[in-house]
Amino acid sequence: MPVDSRRIQGPDSSVPFMLYSSREKKDYKTVKSEVFKKGLRKDGRKWDQHRKVYLKTSVVTQAKGSAFIEQNNTKVICSVFDPREIPRKSDYSVNGELYCEFKYAPFSCLTRRGHQQDAEEKEFSLILRRALEPAVCRHEFPNFQVDIYALVLQDDGSALSAAITCASLALADASVPMYDLVASVTLGVHDDLKFLDPTAEETILCNTSPRTLQNHGTIVFSYSASQQQISEYAQTGAMNLDCITSAIDILTRACDDIYPLSQQCLVKSVAKSVKKKKKREEKLNRERAILADENEPPTNE
């Protein structure tokens, strides 16, 4: 194994302590009955109920634009930087590029994540890029790329969806020209059960269903509500056509609910920055008056 000399190294191999847990391992059936009991999920939601979403813009002052999203225990932060020239590119490209990086913080999941991007994170970066590209006016910045970084601080399911919603808001906050905002929602499917915005436990259930089931898996669905366009559809697992059509129906409605939240958040942040600007100008004028008093203006002779 190559040693990463740029970081402080731990033991050659270490395992999460939960593997040795003295707690009894639950079999699949009990997990299923626990996750969905009497029409309610563990956290008391109905199957088609989204978690409460908290959005905030301009959290990273050093970035051009940024946003933070919280869906109960799923927390993602996103920042967007000024367009810069595409490195190592000689020919002209008509459309600007989006560079997306999706990363889990080492402590964000149940098991520790490595520092380097793994295959899953690379795939998610790609999905993130594909979800955002249709919403950005890329012809406005030819030959340039906009960097978008998403960092998951805590993952309790649907982290990718949260990152897409968050990143679109961060792009808007960075005043990158856009056609529309993108809202994204995940749906977990398990046999006859569907979970909108699944938690980590529900995601695991949906992804590890026995093969005999016809429908199981997760769908990450990104949607531009005002344009009524699906920008990205990423599915894992297998589902029949009826299931997919009904899922898209459910997901479109869910995205329509999330979309106004992003909009409101954006409106709030614009209002705030306008107010701030006014205040700053007032302060500046005051300071200028003081300075003018201090240094006598040079008199022309």
């Binding site: 040693v3 000399s5 740029r6 970081r7 402080i8």
Partner: protein
Amino acid sequence: MEDSAIFNVQEQWLRPLRCELNVLSRPDGSAMITQGSYFILCCYVNTFLYSYRVHIFFFKGNTAVVAAVYGPVDVKPQRILVDKASIETVYKPKSGLPNVADRMRETIIKNTCETALLSAIHPRTAVCIVLQEMQDSGGLLSCCINAACMALMDSGIAMKFLVAAVSCMISEDDIILDPSDKDLMGSKASLTFVFDSAKKNLVASHTSGVFSQEQYHESLLKCRQASCEIFEFYRSLVKKYIICI
């Protein structure tokens, strides 16, 4: 022995210091500093045409560093600085890849040299300082900084002042200057200071271990005194080399 200088500190403050300039032919300036005890074996090697005289150095429990300086040279486009030369430092450990501790050493050396150099007179260029650790038996950082300073001086690049690094350790009751690795075993804290030759002010400081503010101040004063000896050594070194040139 004619092209090197040995400096014996009178009051035995520092371990014997030995420096050789121009040890490497390709760089613009180079220096090898060894600090500690050593002995030299002189022998003759006879081939059928020539007879060589070879010095073999036996370094016993000392710290040795070779430094090389290239510059001002061309700089990579992304590192270009419009108002001054960019300083690049490469620190090579004895074996293996540099780790994070070496990276920090590199940063300290780089920033120290940056302060000492008049980098503003060579804008849009780079000055590259390469350090190779040969052996470490205490006081590696100070040895590196001294070697880098000597190599810079040897390269003839314009400098604001010279710098001298001195390390010391705080044991139970006492402050010991320039400890060897054996001394360091019984230390509470070890400190390295770098001083400039102009005002003898503190340029860089790196410490490990726990100590009080008074102890820090005391060590600082003691090391400053010792740094004068190193500057004196630099002077005697230059005097010797002037004769060689």
